[in-house]
């Protein structure tokens, strides 16, 4: 079952989900609306190898929905909020599922939520979208489609909370000159499993500022794909995550520079704190950036930093930059995972600041760098408090 018929339902030179054929390029990865076009993953595949499959609660094996997630949109009158049929031709403009869970979610939804910011309109107040999980032991699928028409401007807060298992596709479609700021907060209850594929399409001179914060949940796996369709696009993807004992927080990004003169900046920072009595805290960050041959004048940088606060914590970090043209402005990546930066500690203490206070300054600074870019004050303050509580729990 595919949502529509007027688009190619499949893309990519070879199926690679079971590892037979080496993938030539990240840009050529297999995509499809058809669930059965993807093998049931075993956990040995490249894109699943970090994920604890047994904790996916059958999302990859075609488990049926048992409940629904509640999606509420609080927005100004200019914003058009629709409850759309899955056959709506707009769905899929953001992108096509690239893994089995995303395809499963695509085909399992009964209704999709479409939020449209009309052309040349500046929405003053943040659009608040709250997604509440289906409840303990329940499974739900969802589809959210955000579209900004030409030169629209908006701030959207996506607030995930509650319990249960939730797989979804989120599409973000920015028309020419649109400007969108998104703050996405995963503040799930401890039992929640959340698997999301974000399909982001950026038009000419459009600007995206996206901050993702993952705090709660048993397993959170987010796979944003950014595709530039016209020159002049600008995407900044910031992330912040804090994994406690037993939590699995996974972020897999693909930024596809297919056209010239676009800019992307990816910066994810995370902290981990484990507990010897519980399973490890685990974070995964995969940052794929592809600069295709046509994408001259590209400027891109991606960085992931992990702060390992205690034992019994594991951070996997894999930056990957694929460059098919040398005619670019700049491309770089960096990744660090460590206990603490001893040189920073030395510098602050050499000015008389006591060690414990210096440590606190550095750790808060580590998060502050991302937090201070969140322009929605009440969300920023709420997150700062949540992180403060996490840090106090480990005595940092």
């Amino acid at each position: 079952m595919t949502a529509t018929t007027d688009r190619p339902a499949e893309r990519g030179v070879a199926r690679h989900s079971h590892g037979d054929v080496p993938m030539v390029s990240r840009g050529q990865r297999f995509t499809s609306y058809d669930v059965d076009a993807f093998e049931v993953p075993t956990g040995r595949e490249e894109e699943w190898r970090f994920t604890p499959m047994r904790r996916l609660r059958g999302l990859h094996q075609g488990v049926a929905a048992t409940g629904t997630a509640q999606i509420t949109v609080q927005a100004a009158d200019e914003v058009l909020v629709e409850d759309a049929d899955p056959s709506d031709p707009r769905l899929g403009e953001g992108g096509i599922p690239a893994d089995r869970v995303a395809a499963q979610a695509w085909n399992s939804v009964v209704r999709a939520t479409v939020v449209t910011m009309p052309a040349q309109t500046r929405i003053e107040d943040p659009v608040m979208i709250t997604v509440t999980g289906p409840g303990v032991g329940q499974i739900a699928y969802g589809h959210l489609h955000l579209r900004l028409e030409a030169f629209a401007e908006a701030v959207v807060v996506l607030d995930y909370r509650g319990s249960g298992t939730y797989a979804e596709n989120v599409e973000v479609v920015l028309a020419d000159g649109a400007r969108l700021t998104v703050v996405s907060v995963q503040d799930w209850a401890d039992d929640a499993v959340h698997v999301a594929a974000q399909h982001i399409r950026i038009g000419r001179d459009a600007v995206l500022r996206c901050t993702t914060v993952s705090l709660g949940g048993d397993l959170v796996r987010q796979s944003p794909t950014v595709t530039f369709t016209q020159p002049g696009g600008d995407a900044e993807l910031l992330g912040l995550y804090f994994a406690d004992a037993g939590q699995h927080l996974e972020h897999r990004l693909l930024v596809d520079h297919a056209v010239p003169h676009c800019r992307s900046n990816v910066s994810y920072k995370g902290a981990l704190q484990g507990d010897p009595a519980k399973p490890d805290a685990h974070t995964v960050w995969i940052g794929d950036v592809l600069i295709q041959a046509a994408a001259e004048g590209t400027q891109t940088f991606e960085v992931n930093r992990n702060l390992v606060l205690t034992d019994c914590a594991r951070a996997d970090s894999v930056p990957n930059l694929e460059i098919e043209t040398g005619e670019i402005v700049g491309a770089g990546h960096a990744s660090t995972t460590g206990r603490f930066d001893d040189e920073q500690l030395f510098y602050l203490t050499s000015r008389g600041i006591p060690v414990e206070q210096a440590r606190r300054l550095i750790v808060r600074g580590f998060f502050g760098e991302i937090l201070q870019k969140i322009t929605v004050t009440q969300v920023r303050e709420r997150l700062a408090l949540a992180i403060e509580a996490e840090l106090e729990a480990v005595g940092v």
């Binding site: 001893d342 920073q344 050499s350 998060f367």
Partner: protein, 262 residues
């Protein structure tokens, strides 16, 4: 009136070589810096000048194997890094460290609170910082930037001297503060050091590779550092000799003593 005494200081750093896990860098440094004195330590690259600076500040990488450092008779080596700073020692670093997410203003106030024992009154503090920044030609906007992050080499050095002027240590060690500065920046930074010297009974240990900063900051003593120790001491005339003759005379002699002692 403070005195920093360094007595027969030996310092080693860890190596990756299992057969020789330590490498000795400082081989018996003797030096006394009294309040009111400025000592210049000059030496070629690799002579151990920076090791001396970091050892005084207490960087964990440098292991003191023997010898003493005393501040007014009190054992500095048994103090932690922050205790040394609060006791009145300051190191202006050659490569100041970036601390993302911590604003310069927050950092300066926290450091001043620690070294003064109480938080400075906000109103006078703001004035004090503004005046100190202006004296060093630092744009006030830097106060809201993260500590050293994205600063140019010259901006970092100005901020080291800014901290010197606000923290008012008893003894300041300036590690190659002149390196990487253009003529104007060198003048501004030197004037900052001279104001600090003029303001009280303070001692300065000025570590440098070149003589040019000594035209702005006049030393009372000049020491030549080679092979991990002071090999000759004198006055300004020694700096003049180094300017014309370079370090060759001293490094050659070091090699000769090295051969005879082996």
């Amino acid at each position: 009136m403070s005195t920093l005494e360094i007595k027969d200081l030996h310092v080693a750093v860890p190596t990756d070589d299992a057969a020789a896990p330590q490498k000795e860098i400082l081989r018996g440094v003797d030096l006394t810096v009294r309040a009111g004195e400025t000592h210049a330590i000059m030496g070629p690259n690799g002579s151990g000048k920076s090791t001396l600076a970091y050892s005084i500040a207490g960087h964990p990488k440098y292991q003191v194997t023997s010898g003493q450092i005393l501040l007014d008779g009190v054992d500095v080596l048994s103090m932690s890094v922050d205790e040394r700073a609060r006791a009145g020692l300051f190191l202006a670093m050659q490569y100041p460290i970036e601390v993302p997410g911590v604003s310069m203003s927050n950092f300066l106030r926290t450091a001043a609170t620690a070294s003064r024992g109480a938080a400075p009154k906000l109103r006078t503090w703001v004035k004090e910082v503004k005046a100190a920044m202006s004296a060093l030609d630092i744009d006030p906007a830097f106060a809201e930037r993260s500590v050293n992050e994205g600063f140019s080499g010259g901006e970092k050095k100005r901020h080291e001297i800014l901290q010197l002027s606000l923290l008012k240590p008893k003894i300041a060690v300036l590690d190659e503060t002149d390196s990487g500065l253009d003529v104007d920046a060198l003048r501004v930074v030197s004037e900052g050091v001279n104001r600090y010297r003029a303001n009280g009974d303070v001692g300065v240990l000025l570590i440098t590779h070149y003589t040019r900063i000594l035209r702005h900051i006049t030393p009372d003593y000049v020491h030549v550092f080679a092979g991990g120790r002071i090999v000759e001491s004198g006055g300004q005339e020694l700096a003049n000799e180094l300017e014309s003759g370079g370090y060759e005379r001293f490094t050659r002699r070091q090699e000769v003593t090295g051969v005879s002692s082996s």
